[in-house]
Every structure is written in structure tokens, then in C-alpha cells.
């Protein structure tokens, strides 16, 4: 059974159908990439999977359970975490706090206990901080723990978003253009990190424009154009699919 099952999902904004009858599945422990030109509806698809938007029709299953009408924080708690294409960090908090908060918000320690500074809450904080440090150095932000998130360079902010999402220990990690704004060197390094994230037991669903990088690391590719899935399969299959070539390079000229 697939970890994430998107079946016949459509999204309409007024008369404009942004996603039309999308059906695809994300298998556990894989990297699945969604490709498509700008405006194809990739981010809308992400917003529906994470509960930010509700589909007009269709159903989304996660681990066999429907998450179509579940609220955002509950979906996170079920095990889906995401990053944003347009960055959404807690800018006035430190990098460390940005990551630690994930662990603390899901933490078992109740508010009254946290308020009273009980030992359990201090331990929870200590663990969250330790893990946040570890994740920061994993994504390459070691040494920036106490920097204000808003003061980091754009590329670093993207990495910080990834660390924050990873701290939620999601079964499925949704990354919306993680390589946008990264220089080629950092992109390559991030591609390596993504493979290591998959080894950590997180399934990755990825939106990305760097086609060459995607072809290298993705196990499965879904190509979206004008809200419709026009091709799906292994990287080699998709690469040679005439419909994909047409969408990216334009149709034949008679």
C-alpha cells in the first residue's frame, strides 16, 4: 500500500480549475518528485495534501486514512511535514528556536507542567535543543544556532526550513522547491542530504525545477501541466515521454 494516495483530486478557484482529477501515489521510502512549468498547480497540490486548502473533490489518503478534511496541525501530527516555496520562518526567533519548536509543539509535556518548569519539561527542552543542534549541523547550519532566522542568507533560510520540518519526525516530508536560490554547489550538497534523509526513514515528496538534480535522485516522477498529470513513472520513462517534451519545449510546428 502506498504511504500517500492522492485519488481523483480537483481544486477549483471560482471558474478556474487549478488541479483537475489528479491521481498519483507516493510509495514509502522513496523520493517522488513533482515536475511542471510555473503555474501548473504544484504548490496547490501541496497545500491540499497538508490541509492548507481543501480539495473541491476527490480524496487524499495517508497511511490508509483519509486526511481530506483534517486540519493542518492534526495532519502534521499524523506525520506529514512541509517546507514552503515562499519561505515562512519565525524570523525573529533564533535558528535553534525555529527547529526546537517543532519538537516542543509535539512534545508530551503539558502546558501547566511546562509553566511550572517541572523536571520533565526541562528534559524535554534539553532534548529538543540537542536534536535541533544535530539537525542544524545535518543541513549545514552548524554554528548558526543563535543567529536570528531573518538575518540568515536566503539559501540558509531554505535549509533552516528543511531542518524545522525534519524535527517533526514526519513519515512524509514535502519540500516545495528546496533548491530555489541555492548556488549549484549547495544544490548538489542538498541533493546528497535528501538521499540521506530518505535513509533516515522519511519519504520525500519534492517540487523542484532543477530537472537534472531531480533526475539523479528521484525514484518516481510526476509531471503536471495546467493542473493535469501528463506523465508519471521512472525518471528515464518521463524524460523520453513526448508529452513532457511538448509541455516543456512547446508543441510541434506544422
Amino acid at each position: 500500500m502506498a504511504l500517500l494516495d492522492v485519488s481523483d483530486v480537483s481544486k477549483r478557484f471560482g471558474g478556474n480549475e487549478v488541479i483537475s482529477h489528479a491521481t498519483f501515489a507516493v510509495q514509502k521510502d522513496t523520493i517522488t518528485a513533482i515536475l511542471g512549468p510555473n503555474g501548473a498547480g504544484k504548490t496547490t497540490l501541496f497545500n491540499m495534501i497538508t490541509g492548507v486548502l481543501r480539495p473541491t473533490s476527490g480524496n487524499i489518503l495517508f497511511g490508509g486514512k483519509s486526511i481530506t478534511n483534517v486540519r493542518v496541525p492534526e495532519i502534521v501530527r499524523m506525520g506529514i511535514a512541509r517546507t514552503f516555496q515562499k519561505l515562512r520562518l519565525f524570523k525573529n526567533l533564533t535558528a535553534l528556536e525555529n527547529v526546537a519548536i517543532s519538537r516542543l509543539s509535539l512534545g508530551e509535556v503539558s502546558w501547566p507542567m511546562a509553566f511550572l518548569g517541572a523536571r520533565s519539561s526541562r528534559q524535554e527542552e534539553k532534548k529538543a535543543v540537542e536534536e535541533a543542534c544535530e539537525l542544524l549541523s545535518f543541513v549545514g547550519l552548524g554554528g548558526f544556532e543563535n543567529a536570528r532566522a531573518g538575518s540568515l542568507a536566503h539559501g540558509q533560510q531554505r535549509l533552516l526550513e528543511i531542518a524545522r520540518a525534519m524535527a517533526l519526525h514526519p513519515a512524509c516530508l514535502l519540500l516545495d522547491e528546496p533548491m530555489a536560490g541555492l548556488n549549484p554547489e549547495d544544490s548538489t550538497r542538498l541533493a546528497g542530504s535528501l538521499l540521506r534523509i530518505r535513509e533516515r526513514g522519511m519519504t520525500i515528496l519534492l517540487i523542484e525545477h532543477h530537472v537534472d538534480v531531480v533526475m539523479d535522485i528521484a525514484d518516481h516522477i510526476v509531471v503536471l501541466d495546467f493542473g493535469k498529470i501528463i506523465s508519471e513513472g521512472l525518471p528515464e520513462q518521463v524524460q523520453s515521454d513526448p508529452r513532457v517534451i511538448e509541455a516543456y519545449l512547446g508543441g510541434k510546428v506544422n
Binding site: 493542518v72 496541525p73 514552503f84 511546562a114 509553566f115
Partner: protein, 340 residues
């Protein structure tokens, strides 16, 4: 997540309060004492408003209404049912907390400007009820003859409820509020609240149940506003609806912003500023309120982060001064300890 500096700040605050009390009871005349008690009450009010506006980031325009609920409930229970005042005080605070919970449940799903407008409307409703339910609240004339607190049973000496006793209670209430709020601030709860202020969608996307947090903050803040109201009612012994109108709420917003969003120490400073400054400006004669307004404009223009920001600047200045001493010490070939 930081505990140590808070402890120092708390110690400094306690010392400041002891000094204030000593000053109030020995040197100050009744009028100054009165201003000090009012400062205490408004400190609690502004701090609680800051929890909602400065921490969770809900721009909220009906805080004076909760202040009014606390004041009226406590006063009415004491006048008509002759309940003991510590009890009416607690019931008043709880009633305010409960109304905060109700308002929160009704409006918290709305964001930004919409929330501000709804809170404004709800504040107007509370004011109109106080103003027009004449049989219960005596309408615009207000409640007078609110009883003073009783003698404290386990103290033999009889207590004269003089302003200096109120000052003691007021300072304790401020300290209690400050401790509770800074504990919230320093625990993960505070971090979660700040995350909502910073970016609500991102907060939801790290698993924070944002509506629940906002409603909780709102309820806690209303409870403390109600406590301030109860103290106000039994201290001044006369309350009128006008004191809890929209204008009062707007003034609270000004106090919170002037003190510094998210800074509770700043809130206390701002409450003192707002209570004492208009009095000191009496030297400006008929231009008193105009010059106070001008002063507010100046502060906001030059210190957008309020009195807390100003305080930080001064503190950094001190730091730089200290840094220079250390640096001088190093260049002269001595350690900083050697210089000392």
C-alpha cells in the same frame, strides 16, 4: 528557554517594588500614593493586554471591557449579596476570564483586521450593557459606595484600608502577574505563542494548534484584566461605564505599544508613564493633554520598539562602556580583573 537573566530581572523588580513601597509610605503624600496605586492596577492591565497583542499577535480592542467585567461583577456581588471581598475579587476575575473565553471562541478564527473589528464590536456591547442595564448597573451614573475589603481574620491588628495598604496589595498583584507572565514567556508556551505571532501558517505547520493557543492566551489575559478591575473597584469605590469604553481600550493599546510589544517590564514602565506623565505635565497648563499627545508621537517615532527598546539601547550603551574598560585593560597589559 532562557532562565538566568529573568531571575536577575525579577530580583531587580522586587527591589524596585520595595523601594517604591518605602517611598510611597514615607515620603509621598496621598495624591502621589494614589497615582502609585493606579500605576499598579494599570500595570497588570497592560501586561495582560501585551500577552494577547504582543505575544500571540492578536490586535485586540476590547481589553477595557474585561477590566469592566471584573470591576462590575466584584462590586455588584459585594454590594448586593454582601459576599466577602476576596471572594468577589476572585469571582470577578473568573467572570472576566470566562467572557474572554467566550469572545475567543467566537472570534479567534478570524485573522488580523477582522479580529480587531470583532473585538471592537464586542467591547462596545459590554459598554452598552453597563451603560443601559440601569436596574443592575445604575447606568451612566455608575456604582458608588462599593465596600472596602474586610479585616483579615488571622491578623489581630485592625487594618485601616488606607492607600498605602492598597499600594502593598497592588505591588504584590503586579509582581504575581509579572512572575506568571514571564514564566509563560520563558517556557515552551511562550515560544509557541511567539511562533504564532511570527507566522501563523508556519506555526500550524509545525503542529501548533493555533486556535487553541490563542483562546488560552485570551482567557488568561482576560482573567488578569478582571483581577485588575476588581482591585480598581474596591480601591476607588466608584466605577462608571465610561472608564471601560472603547476609548479606554484604545488607550490600553497605546500603553502596550509604548511599553514595547512583547515586553512585560516595558508594560509596567508604560503604565507608570501614562499615569504619572499627564500629572507632571500640569506645568504646561491648558496644553497639558496636547503636550502629552505630542510626547506619545515623539516616543513612537523615535523608539518604535517602545520603552523596552529604549531600555535595551541604554543597556547596550552600558555594555559598550564596560566593553571599553575591558579593552583598555587588555591594551594596557592587565586583565579586566586587574583593572577592577
Amino acid at each position: 528557554m532562557v532562565a538566568a537573566p529573568t531571575r536577575w530581572r525579577l530580583l531587580a523588580l522586587i527591589m524596585l517594588f520595595v523601594a517604591a513601597y518605602a517611598f510611597g509610605t514615607t515620603f509621598a503624600n496621598d495624591y502621589v500614593l494614589h497615582l502609585m496605586v493606579l500605576t499598579c492596577i494599570f500595570s497588570v492591565l497592560v501586561m495582560s493586554h501585551n500577552l494577547v497583542t504582543g505575544y500571540v499577535g492578536l490586535f485586540h480592542l476590547c481589553h477595557a471591557a474585561f477590566f469592566g467585567v471584573g470591576a462590575y461583577v466584584s462590586a455588584l456581588l459585594a454590594i448586593h449579596l454582601h459576599l466577602p471581598i476576596p471572594l468577589t475579587f476572585v469571582i470577578g476575575a473568573c467572570a472576566a476570564g470566562f467572557s474572554g473565553l467566550t469572545v475567543g471562541l467566537l472570534s479567534v478564527r478570524l485573522g488580523g483586521h477582522y479580529f480587531a473589528i470583532v473585538s471592537l464590536g464586542l467591547g462596545v456591547i459590554v459598554y452598552q450593557v453597563l451603560n443601559n442595564w440601569v436596574t443592575l448597573t445604575a447606568g451612566p451614573i455608575g456604582l458608588s459606595g462599593i465596600p472596602l475589603p474586610p479585616q483579615i481574620p488571622w491578623i489581630r491588628k485592625s487594618i485601616d484600608w488606607t492607600p498605602s495598604i492598597f499600594l502593598a496589595f497592588g505591588l504584590v498583584l503586579v509582581l504575581f502577574t509579572y512572575v506568571v507572565f514571564t514564566r509563560i514567556q520563558d517556557s515552551k508556551v511562550g515560544l509557541i505563542m511567539k511562533a504564532i505571532r511570527e507566522n501563523e501558517l508556519a506555526a500550524a505547520c509545525v503542529g501548533i494548534r493555533t486556535n487553541r493557543v490563542k483562546i488560552s492566551a485570551f482567557t488568561i489575559a482576560s482573567f488578569f484584566a478582571g483581577a485588575a478591575g476588581g482591585m480598581y473597584a474596591h480601591y476607588t469605590r466608584i466605577i462608571v461605564p465610561e472608564q471601560f469604553s472603547f476609548m479606554a481600550s484604545a488607550e490600553l493599546v497605546a500603553m502596550t505599544v509604548l511599553g514595547g510589544l512583547g515586553s512585560f517590564g516595558g508594560s509596567i514602565a508604560s503604565a507608570a508613564f501614562f499615569t504619572i506623565m499627564p500629572e507632571m505635565l500640569r506645568v504646561a497648563g491648558q496644553w497639558r493633554l496636547e503636550s502629552f499627545g505630542a510626547l506619545l508621537v515623539i516616543v513612537v517615532l523615535f523608539f518604535p520598539r517602545g520603552m523596552a527598546g529604549l531600555g535595551e539601547l541604554i543597556w547596550q550603551g552600558f555594555g559598550r562602556l564596560r566593553g571599553r574598560v575591558v579593552a583598555d585593560g587588555v591594551t594596557k597589559g592587565t586583565t579586566s580583573r586587574g583593572v577592577a
